[in-house]
Assembly symmetry: C2
Homo-oligomer: 333 residues x 2
DNA sequence: CTGAAAGCGCTTACAG
DNA sequence: CTGAAAGCGCTTACAG
């Protein structure tokens, strides 16, 4: 089966390729009605579909962007991706989605491939370990937006939640509810992850309330060690009465462990989670949660990137777009 | 900043473009060591990155596939996408992810654009309303695989769970646990959705156990009407004692309503859900679930598609790849 | 109003 | 062992 190209159409309609191209791009300002109709008819009859690749090669734009997340299964990433897609779809852009799994080698490979495929820009939840590559993109003036994290030495704007505020809201609520022995468990990823700021917010809030910081109460653990971590907290001489879960997956592990020990929330242990979970409202007890506006974050990131791609007069030179988390008080504290 | 092309490299290394191209494609069988080194050096020095678009245009392959789902936020879709990505990544393929939102117009537009962008194939959770377009792809010998649904009049292979079996497992377990008044709530999408088969399985199982089918107990509802649906069930003269939730979102709505009425599971109402949910194991009571092997389904779909793309001697001519769901018994029934 | 021609950045027989 | 040339399917000044 021969592929039908613009040349085929041109021949069939007895015009030049230029004319077909003009027609396709809506430039019929100076095209006779008759020619227009002939071209239109030929396209229909031949069932011609333009090859966008060829156009992209010539025009140097692919109307495709790359999105690199750690894992698209995480609720936050999934929501960010979904809202990026919605914005992109409006502009007829498409999304190539990549999972770097917190692996900087994988991230690097994806960035390289995506650039080789000439995507018009990227939105990245960075692993943080490819500073040279990030800066290389900056130097080439390549449109990139970070989400969830910022890197001090990289001039790429970041869209993220105010992580310090997130833990501050939670810790303050614990304190206002009468708790004094408060623990935090976050995930252990790496040095620049949001967890740092969340721990900072935790410490600052204890401090400003005149409470002592107990290093034993602070845990940064890989997900498979969270349950063990809770166990250790409970075995402390003075176990905490409240735990702040640094993200949704950590919260789930904590809940699993508490249930396995038949511990009651909040009587035996008060709990607040950062990141919404699907069951927060109907869990027993309903869970108090600090919610991240993931959709707003994705939307903002997409808008920033589209702005950069369309070079809207260098809008958005700020380095940080901070969104406010929201404390939803229910019954787990 | 001038872009660096193969021509730049050729000039810099004092060779022809052909030689650079050969080098890049590892065809140095007949290339002098010296030439090889010169080319390598020039590529490094110039920081040259090949433009894959140009290659794709020539080679007629983009190493990119399209994936169209209803909504990537749904757990099932998210898991399917993730496992497709893993398979594709091994073959250095990329994924363009699209959300059709059960909108056949949107689906059609995505299919058109994806083909125009010359993706090498597509994996689709079809809306079902674009039969002509699906068949057009079949006629053009375009590699496509369906997931989650099959269409009788379309010769595209489908990878899906045995839906009849899913509800059969659940209903039989209700019956074996002593329940007789059993209801099913599925989501209302359209005529060809898996819900049909799930309802069929439900009916058949009641029937084979000599139980009467009560039409009032069967509800196909949009997600926002599920709670109202449960309410209506409870107001029936003979309300059911057990509900089968046709998918994860429906289950969540049911749980919300039961909690709002302070109804206890399984005493006041036994519950089984189809589709895993993150909280099944530590919910109170822990939830009995029929699990779909979403990752296996995604993997199979990706493998089938890659096979088609690489034309592996027309493997996989079967029309259906049915995966078995698994009943995980916990305490909600 | 329409077309010839050059060019986007690669690949690939083919020739030498 | 290496290169000249044609071609992938478009777009776009430019000419007439």
């Amino acid at each position: 089966m021969k592929t039908i190209t613009m040349a085929t159409v041109a021949q069939h309609a007895q015009v030049s390729k230029s004319t077909v191209s003009h027609f396709l791009n809506g430039r019929y300002s100076h095209m006779s009605d008759e020619t227009k109709k002939r071209v239109e008819k030929s396209i229909k009859e031949l069932d011609y579909r333009p090859n966008i690749l060829a156009r992209s090669l010539k025009q140097k734009t692919t109307t495709t962007i790359g999105v690199i997340v750690a894992n698209s299964l995480h609720t936050f990433s999934a929501q960010v991706i979904r809202s990026i897609e919605d914005i992109c779809n409006k502009a007829d852009f498409h999304l190539i989605v990549c999972n770097a799994d917190n692996d900087s080698i994988k991230e690097q490979k994806y960035i390289d491939m995506l650039r080789a495929k000439q995507v018009d820009g990227m939105i990245i939840l960075p692993t943080g370990h490819n500073e040279a590559i990030y800066n290389d993109m900056v130097d080439s003036n390549y449109p990139v937006v970070f989400v969830d994290r910022t890197l001090p030495n990289v001039a790429i704007p970041s869209v993220m939640v105010n992580n310090e505020m997130a833990s501050r809201l939670a810790v303050q609520h614990f304190i206002d509810s009468g708790y004094r022995k408060i623990s935090i468990i976050t995930n252990e990823i790496d040095a620049i992850a949001p967890r740092i700021e969340r721990i900072v917010g935790y410490k600052k809030t204890l401090d400003s309330n005149g409470l002592k910081i107990e290093e034993d109460y602070i845990k940064a653990l890989e997900i498979q060690h969270v349950q063990q971590g809770v166990k250790e907290l409970l075995e402390l001489e003075e176990p905490p009465q409240a735990i702040l879960a640094g993200n949704d997956l950590t919260l789930i592990e904590i809940l699993k462990y508490l249930k396995s020990q038949n511990l009651k929330i909040p009587k035996d242990m008060a709990v607040i989670g950062i990141d919404d979970v699907s069951f927060a409202s109907f869990f027993e007890p309903a869970l108090t949660i600090v919610e991240q506006p993931a959709f707003d974050i994705g939307k903002k990131a997409a808008e920033l990137l589209m702005g950069k791609i369309q070079k809207e007069g260098q809008v958005g030179q700020s380095k940080m777009y901070l969104f406010e988390p929201e404390l939803v008080i229910r019954n787990s504290c």
